[in-house]
Amino acid sequence: EAGVAQSPRYKIIEKRQSVAFWCNPISGHATLYWYQQILGQGPKLLIQFQNNGVVDDSQLPKDRFSAERLKGVDSTLKIQPAKLEDSAVYLCASRSDRGFNEKLFFGSGTQLSVL
């Protein structure tokens, strides 16, 4: 079974620039999550999709962050404009909706450095 694919692996930008991250979940997984992991901290949920609808975006800084999941498969997370405090690893995760016992699978993440 192929894992969760993310790109790019690394991105370095200057503050006030924009950046986009891409995620391809495991085939058939209806639920997709974007997490932000700042160095030395645990992952923090930014947004959760069920198919192509948003379930929870309560912790997404909507003035600068946006996310979409077209056709209920791939997803893109965008930051515009970036701030220094956005430096973090952005993790995408997916799971099937067959039941609560279904595992959450994470991608390897995109490491963002904002200079």
Binding site: G42, L45, Q48, L91, R95, K103, L104, F105, F106
Partner: protein, 110 residues
């Protein structure tokens, strides 16, 4: 106060030692408790998952949950260099919205 507090570490132990990792939490509504392992430059992967208070074993790993004290632990017996990683506790009520601890980095010395 953070919802989930995890012993910060880092921990460095010799090969074969027992590793003990701990988290406390404040939200009594949490029902499901998990431990994730995260290798450097990789995403977290689920290691153990428990629901009720008590112990759960899986090979060299034992997870303990004490809901009355709001305290969970992970023990790794006969630790190996391949166990060197960051261990994250995570918990949720019943909707898979996970609250993570900050992680403890473990190094097992050969």
């Amino acid at each position: 106060q953070k919802e989930v507090e995890q012993d910060p570490g880092p921990l460095s132990v010799p090969e074969g030692a027992i590793v003990s990792l701990n988290c406390t939490y404040s939200n009594s509504a949490f029902q499901y408790f998990m431990w994730y392992r995260q290798y450097s430059r990789k995403g977290p992967e689920l290691l153990m998952y428990t629901y009720s208070s008590g112990n759960k074993e899986d090979g060299r790993f034992t997870a303990q949950v004490d809901k009355s004290s709001k305290y969970i632990s992970l023990f790794i017996r006969d630790s190996q260099p391949s166990d060197s990683a960051t261990y994250l506790c995570a918990m949720t009520q019943n909707d898979y919205k996970l609250s993570f601890g900050a992680g403890t980095t473990v190094t097992v010395r050969a």
